[in-house]
């Protein structure tokens, strides 16, 4: 038995939304995700794992928490997915809160553990299945859910209004020209070689990063552009929420922006 000790942390997105759950809702969502959305791949992974623990040393959470076995990737799967399966999907809201904490806050889907697994089990994928369940139940950390909500309306993660995006880049162009004579941040240049797709924060809190990219593009002589319309943000927090419906829409917007601008490459930032 794995001993699980965690310092209590409150998060309204998890605590308040978990209060609204019903047993029928929980069972229905788990059944839908495990039997309709994830069946074949999930079963293979779950049945192949021999609990050897070789994945443990790959996990920075496990290492950071002094090799606490409850932070090892295999333990995270055991405490979430296997728990649901073992209990025939009949789990309570407190369990959902624990699944949410583990899948959102104790794994960042880096996939390093999959490299360590002798069977190549995609453990990170299993954590995304847990996130999907929590996401459909609405039990998601507040900050992450807010970013997912932003994607639903703006297709960017930081609630950037369409006018702010363009206006910001226009004044950044002024700043750019303090360093580079006649520098440009060209919007909607159809047929450019490259569409630069910034992180949402470059349009809001860390605009100096966008200026830096503009400097590189100008000095390197890259034929580049950015869309003035939605689809410019390279991030997709809906994926992390487990909101695959919004995730798909955001990705589609992103690629269709590139195709609308007739660019040949997308360069994204991080």
């Amino acid at each position: 038995m794995i001993k699980v000790e965690r310092r209590p942390v409150s998060d309204p997105g998890i605590d308040e939304n978990a209060k609204k759950l019903t047993p029928e809702q929980i069972e229905g969502v788990i059944r839908h995700v495990l039997e309709k959305e994830s069946a074949g791949r999930l079963r293979t992974f779950v049945e192949t794992c021999i609990h050897c623990g070789l994945c443990s040393d790959a996990c920075h959470y496990y290492l950071a928490y002094k090799r606490d076995p409850s932070y090892s990737p295999v333990a995270k799967v055991r405490l979430t997915l296997w728990d649901m399966i073992r209990r025939k999907y009949r789990v309570d809201a407190e369990s959902i809160k624990m699944y949410a904490r583990i899948s959102y806050a104790e794994c960042n889907i880096c996939k390093r553990c999959s490299m360590y697994c002798p069977f190549g089990i995609d453990i990170a994928y299993l954590m995304t299945v847990v996130r999907r369940i929590c996401g459909l139940l609405g039990v998601v950390p507040q900050y992450l859910q807010d970013q997912g909500n932003s994607h639903m309306y703006t297709y960017s993660q930081s609630w950037v209004p369409q006018d702010d995006w363009v206006d910001t880049a226009l004044w950044l162009e002024d700043e750019l020209r303090m360093d580079i004579r006649n520098g440009r941040i060209p919007f909607d240049k159809e047929g450019a070689e490259v569409m630069y797709s910034p992180h949402s924060l470059e349009a809001k809190f860390k605009t100096n990063l966008l200026t830096n990219i503009a400097k590189i593009m100008n000095v390197a002589g890259v034929d580049w552009t950015m869309p003035s319309f939605d689809g410019w943000d390279s991030t997709n927090q809906a994926m992390h929420v487990g909101d695959y419906e919004t995730m798909g829409m955001v990705e589609r917007m992103h690629f269709e922006a590139a195709m609308r601008l007739k660019v040949k490459k997308i360069i994204t930032s991080e």
């Binding site: 900050y143 909500n149 639903m152 309306y153 369409q162 006018d163 060209p186 919007f187 003035s228 939605d230």
Partner: protein, 419 residues
């Protein structure tokens, strides 16, 4: 928009020397060309915070602090957002809308060029301005703008309530809807996108999300009875009020009309549906499997699939042929009725049918130069810049708008002389 009296007998005409513009101004931004090919314009900057629009070599008399989103209306007027004295407004051939705004974007113009609208920011709120008149209602936020075919109505996606930072519970109460004609729909949704007007401009539809996995279409705020696990943008029938949209069912994606699936087959993906002009047929981009893209007409897919992308299928005017842009192994070409042209390009633009449906012309790029491709045959002439070709009404000639040797020209060439 070419007028009926546009002279198709004038052949080559050099309109202006773009290289001379570049010698004259420190910054010449990207060029826009009018549909009739007679005007070319660019935002030019003479000094910091001094920008104007140069048309056919002649700058506007006024200089602005900033200009952006320059385009030509279908009736060949230059339209853009301009900033003067820290206030934005719309300029049409250098005539300004009278009202100033904090920002102007989503400039939208009716097919006849007579009506213009834009989303605008004023007093920390968003609204819409139509032909220079601002709506009497505003919203915490507005995104995108759709205009009715007659140009008299516009609609935008709005947020009806201003939320505090991180207010996920307020968002869950549904704060998003469509605003049209200075009025928001009575009903809000979790999410909303893809605004479309009916052919007669009387109805507005959009895709809406009712819950995490419940999607449908709303027409004038009223939802279909049926719901689906996913839905893409709606499209009105060109002659009725029927609405078609790709929907996700337990069997996969298919096409639905007014809430009922109309294609027997389901696919891995369906989107970008488009009707023939008589409304008798409908085509869409579909994926019969992962990494396989093609076109379906009335639910029947082409046999040939393409690995990278398929874009914008379009019917010929006689509704008998369908052309789409296809990409395979990072090379673009046109596929007509399922058969790709035997040539490929670095990039390709929208396929244009001749009025009699017998020819297809496109703009294509290869090795940094642009050319007209007619029925799969690249023209031997390549240009530094090129805009989409336009067929003459009899289909025998093409208007080519191009830059060669640094000069913008409009040319009329006989279709038979190409390639």
């Amino acid at each position: 928009m070419l007028t009926d009296d546009w002279d198709w007998d004038i052949q080559d005409r050099v309109i202006t020397d773009i290289d001379e513009w570049k010698r004259r101004y420190p910054i010449v931004q990207e060029c826009s060309v009018s549909d009739d090919g007679e005007r070319i314009a660019a935002i030019v900057e003479t000094a910091p915070q001094k920008a104007t629009v140069c048309i056919n070599g002649n700058p506007w008399e006024t200089e602005y602090e900033k200009i952006w989103s320059l385009k030509f209306s279908p009736d060949s007027r230059a339209v853009c957002s301009v900033l003067r004295n820290y206030e934005w407004t719309l300029a049409v051939d250098n005539v300004l809308w009278t009202e100033p705004y904090d920002f102007v974007w989503n400039i939208t113009i009716s097919p006849d060029g007579k009506n213009m609208a834009a989303t605008v920011k004023k007093e920390n709120a968003h609204t819409v301005a139509q032909n220079g008149r601002t709506w009497g209602i505003s919203f915490p936020e507005a995104r995108d703008l759709a205009m009715s075919p007659d140009g008299k109505r516009v609609a935008t996606r709005v947020k009806t309530k201003r939320l505090a930072s991180l207010d996920i519970f307020g968002f869950a109460e549904n704060i998003l809807t469509v605003a049209a004609d200075e009025k928001a729909w009575d009903r809000n949704f979790l999410s909303i996108w893809g605004i479309a007007f009916s052919f007669d401009s009387s109805r507005v539809a959009a895709g809406v999300r009712l819950d995490k996995t419940v999607f449908t279409i709303a027409v004038d705020g009223n939802t279909w009875d049926a719901t689906f696990a996913g839905i893409w943008e709606p499209l009105f029938h060109p002659r009725t009020h029927d609405v078609a949209a790709p929907v996700k069912t337990p069997r996969g994606w298919t096409l639905a009309m007014n809430g009922k699936t109309v294609w027997e087959r389901c696919f891995t993906q369906v989107w970008h549906q488009r009707y023939s002009t008589d409304g008798e047929k409908i085509t869409a981009v579909i994926a019969p499997g992962f990494g396989k893209w093609t076109v379906a007409v009335d639910g029947s897919p082409w046999t040939r699939t393409f690995s990278d992308a398929v874009l914008y299928p379009a019917f010929s005017p006689d509704h008998q042929r369908v052309a789409a842009l296809v990409k395979e192994k990072n090379r673009w070409t046109v596929a007509v009725d399922g058969t790709p042209w035997p040539v490929d390009f670095d990039m390709i633009w929208e396929a244009v049918f001749s009025p009699d449906s017998s020819h297809i012309a496109v703009k294509a790029e290869r090795n940094g130069l642009y050319m007209i491709v007619l029925d799969g045959k690249p023209d031997t002439h390549a240009y530094e810049a090129l805009w989409n070709p336009i067929f003459s009404p009899d289909g025998e000639k093409l208007l080519i708008r191009c830059i060669e040797n640094g000069k913008y020209c409009r040319k009329v060439v006989k279709v038979n002389d190409i390639a």
